[in-house]
Symmetry: C2
Subunit: 276 residues, 2 copies
């Protein structure tokens, strides 16, 4: 998907919601456990329920790998289902990969050729040549970790260099020579509040993928105050607050209602900012 | 596996070789492609051939994920095969994972409960709470990226803070409060040469997992000069130089010969250092 296609879809959907598919069999409605393929059946119901209110889906690989071969099968089926039924939705494989060149190349083949997702989250620690193999695919994206939403983000991401610049700023600056806003996004946690203003000075036009609204305590209003661009420039992810809104057999309706509530807030934000 | 069991096994084998199972169907002997399960069949032959000369195996997840469900199946079979036939070998899943707490917890379950590998490589960028979930398993290890072997390692790992300490040193220092030498190792690329001396000042007793000897150009002698501890303290990985030593039907014999050659150098090193 191109940058412009994503922006157009956000305007049409009046939403910049990304639904995180962190599917955990200990948390899904228990009646699904008797199904032959409970992970995929849960995902399909959540996808159908939330697609009208969202622009992206983000399956989190950890939740699939933990079920081994069955988990991978469910992950592949999920990607195929979205591709077939919601072809305009942006699919982010949240895998936080990154390795030496020949290894990153193998990951790139797995996610961009065999699976045909739009984007992959990548960790920057190993530097440029660990990220570049993911950038060799037209209209495929890298979502690079910059400033994450967890407590431990302070351990290394906030270490300042001799000029006082924290590591995450160095990541933002250096990585701009690897790709522009057409192929690169950054992960910035919603819990990072006012740092969004600093980040927008460094990357005024790139999309930011923002986890941490909801269960992790970040505020949509605060993220938007500093993070919006004239093209929106934000994908705000919500996982648990939407997909586990309810554990009864009517879980999908509850997920739809939770997604719709977020979408309505987003529509207001987009409207007030004259983006729609 | 405990630290002491690993040290004992190194002394018995007179080797600190880790064989990297970076199995790529474009590089394996082509007669295997007609097999039903070429990845596993290749791995089994390589494992049988190199086990007498090694102490560890390191399957690299990227090479399995690229084949989707079949790849995961082959990965699981490979781990089971090693566990069953070579129970004293240390198994490192080279996955370079690391995510927020609940997600790292899912990865930990996948690799340490369901698959029963000994160790997992983890990227430090997201900080302490992204690594801690992997440390809740007795006799299971985290192999944390410190200073990697690739060119891009200079992009961020060598950024110095206000006191002149590079990021990788901060990673080494900070992470020592998370776990001791019984549960933590560090990745330090063989291409980093004299930096091993600095690293040993910071982590005098921890095992280092050293990739980059062979195809990437690192020198075993140099690594050992600075990296050895009284308990050896090194696992030196070789992947391509061993597993692709030959592409004919006698590939396994060639791999054995390549592994034996490395083991003989290692035996000499261990003997000269009075470790055996």
């Amino acid at each position: 998907m191109t940058y412009q296609q994503l922006v157009d879809f956000i305007r049409e959907q009046k939403s910049f919601l990304c639904v995180g598919l962190d599917t955990d069999l200990r948390k899904v409605p228990q009646h699904l456990l008797s199904h032959e393929n409970p992970i995929f059946d849960f995902n399909r119901a959540i996808i159908d329920a939330t697609a009208p209110f969202s622009v992206a889906f983000k399956p989190n690989l950890a939740f699939y790998e933990t079920y081994g071969v069955q988990g991978w099968q469910a992950f592949e089926e999920t990607v195929r289902y979205i591709r077939t039924h919601y072809p305009r939705h942006f699919i982010i494989a949240d895998a936080k990969r990154g390795d030496i060149g020949n290894t990153s190349q193998m990951y790139a083949r797995a996610f961009f050729e065999d699976l045909d997702v739009d984007a992959l989250t990548v960790a920057p620690y190993m530097g440029g040549d660990s990220v570049e193999p993911f950038l060799g695919y037209e209209n495929k994206w890298v979502v690079l970790l910059a400033l994450t939403s967890n407590r431990g983000s302070a351990d290394f991401q906030l270490i300042t260099d001799a000029d006082g610049a924290p590591l995450y700023e160095r990541v933002l600056k250096t990585s701009q020579s690897w790709a522009d806003k057409e192929q690169m996004m950054y992960v910035v946690g919603a819990t990072q509040g006012a740092k969004f203003a600093d980040i927008r000075r460094l990357v005024p036009h790139h999309f930011l993928l923002v986890p941490g609204v909801g269960a992790q305590g970040g505020s949509l209003q605060e993220v938007c105050r500093y993070g919006l661009t004239p093209d929106c420039g934000l994908l705000v992810n919500s996982s648990r607050a939407i997909i586990y809104a309810d554990a009864s057999p009517s879980f999908a309706e509850a997920a739809a209602a939770a997604a719709r509530a977020v979408q309505e807030q987003m529509e207001q934000v987009l409207s007030e900012a004259h983006i729609i």
